[in-house]
Amino acid sequence: MREDEEREDKDMADGGDGVNPLAEGLTRERRAPPGVLVVFGASGDLTARKLMPALERLSRRRMLPPAFAVVGVARTEMDDESFRQAMRAAVPDAGPAWTELVKGFRYVAGEYAHPDTFSALAQVLSDLDDQRGTGGNRTFYLATLPTVFEEVARGLGAVGLNKAPGQVSPVRLVIEKPFGRDLDSARQLDQGLHEFFDEDQIYRIDHYLGKETVQNVLALRFANAIFEPVWNRRYVDHVQITVAESLGVEHRGGFYETAGALRDIVQNHVMQVLALTLMEPPATVDAQGIRDEKVKALRAVGILTPDQVLGDVVRAQYDTGWSEGEQVNGYRDEEGVDPHSSTETYIAMRLEVDNWRWAAVPVFLRTGKRLPKRLTEVALQFHRVPHLPFVASEARGLHPNAMILRIQPDEGISLRFGAKVPGQAFEVRDVLMDFSYGSAFLEEPPDAYERLLLDAMVGDPTLFIRSDEVDQAWQIVDPLIDAWASGEAPVARYAAGTWGPRQADQLIQREGRQWRTP
């Protein structure tokens, strides 16, 4: 038998997924394998605003295979051509490659509760396998309201679309936050999905993890020998995590009333950044290695008692004020918001982490809308030196060292340390050593959706949230929901355009510390 034929037979035995000799040396640029992306909620806002632009960029960056198609599914009645027109319109500045790609898009209209919708989808997918060679590989993206997640999973399972034909190719289900409204509903959702999909088929998106600089926290911590030795209680006095938005609720008042900062930001984005900051080094930077360590870190976070919620958490709402040069409404005056609402637009909290590395190092979190600027950062504030050998007047401008990881915008790292002011006197002052992430690398970082969409199609779950992570994050957040439901915790007020209420300042000042002014 010829060598070529032997290899060919091996390819077939592998399900045809042997090595592509032409791809050698090009593997740095990951590429989705042939397959179909099925988008539920295809006529909705998320599809047009986020998914299609992300797909277009993937297409432009040549990360989609030629044997690729999108099938849109939604309740809105339209045919294939209308769907294609809508998807072309979703990316108005796209080039001819996108126009060419969209020509292969298909659409299935129907109710998610109706079995006919899924039978029709199964037929379209089978046709695409025959005509395009997509090989039974499917990624189901649920760009829908969370209330229909289980319904769609059930519909797919009923017609066998939860498994690939012959079980050879992968089938994945991608869902967007929120994953439940509290611990109980999150567990109920998981149970519903797991009836039809195994955990390793479910990709839970938190777009924050798709941000390049969030991933850079891992690179900074685990690719450098100089940071990790000081990344612990011996050197770190406390940690501050800030997720600030300058915008108000805009036109999402109705949605925000049901979520608040706790469900919208803390349970997911903040908990993910917290886990990456606190986690131990993984043995391997892969899905299991990273997610195992993140869960361990979240498990070490002390669950607040009802009394601690009252003492260590501040919730607040913005009042009218000045933001970016304009006078803006208070939260209760926003469209779609109850004038007597107690929904929080700001949270500051103090957490403790009960493990060897972080014992007695408080972690202060704050997030809010209508703060002075939009930014996300993690700051490690180091201990003061044990003895300062200068007279007080010489070191007036000196603060403890700090390392600041700027996640957005102006991504980078700053290190604050003391240096002598030039001159005859021995005066020491803070200086900031600044590394700007964008100034050292050529590559335009991929947008978060672009990154996560490709990861889902490639089958890399590293940046997706596992069921036990979601569960653990809710366990940290649930006591706040319970305590606030009792109505005991007051809702503080802060003027729009400021860094939050004075109660938040008092929270951190009572231990002799203060919030950074980023």
Partner: protein, 328 residues
Amino acid sequence: MADAVVQAGLPDHWSGTGVSISTILEQLVRLRRAFDHRASRTRVMTLVVVGSTEGDVARAAAAMHGLGDHHPARLVVLRPEPHSRTSGIDAEIQVYATSSDDHPVFFEQIELRVRGSGCAHLDSIVEPFTLSDLPVVVWYPGALPAVSDGLLPVASTVLVDTREAGELGTLADLVELARRRPVVDLSWERLRPWRELLAGLFEGPVYRPFARGVSSIDVEGKGGPRRLLAGWLLSRLGTGRTVELHDARHVSVRLVASSHGQEATFEAVRSASERMVRAGASVVGGPAHHELLVLPDDSLAWSLSRALTHLRRDRVWEQALAVAVGLG
């Protein structure tokens, strides 16, 4: 993300004729101190450009500046004039800042005109200007370096453009040079979209088995890139296939393959009037797929930026080049 090159202030500048290396270094320090204090001094390499003509040097320096703040580097431009009747060094230093998200990023260009006997020892002239612990990339725009080039010992990576290779003999020299030092080829980077496109045609369980059954390869295009692309295909798919090379203005590739009794065609054709490639795979009596590739900007700055991002030995290129030389 980063803006295009924006000059944050007037470039600071110094020049001198018949000057010593230590004078140039002193002036460099002086200019850096005088420059905008807010400018970040992130730097990722020393790039040494060796040019024999004014045009080559100007083109190379413009391409480097065209990268904006993406590869903040110390740029050392060498203009050897070995046949000059006098010996000495004339130098010019310019200090710039570009802007990244309103954050000034500093870089500097040192141009050295080396006259007479110093040209035989360019490594000793360049070494004092290299940045500690960072790669030194030596680039020869407009020519390919000889294996014995005296500057090569300071180079951690050599940057070349095989499109400049006039004769096969110079390519054969490059094969030898690549054994001694990492060589990055701008022409190879320009072919990257083509390589990705062709590799993509064989992705997936339906099409991949045909990669082992390619019987004929037709490549059209200009001499250097055509030969390199054919060398790559042969080195990856295995020699012993029928190869046809044709001279044409634009690149086109056609592969015929069979697998388990089925025949398939894989092709990528550059449109004559646009920077677009139509590509596709078609199994006789089976599935087919097509796609359109819009070729990226083919400016020198683009291929340079790609090359500087991948500063490492590339075995696939080395094997492709070795086979290309054998194609005659």
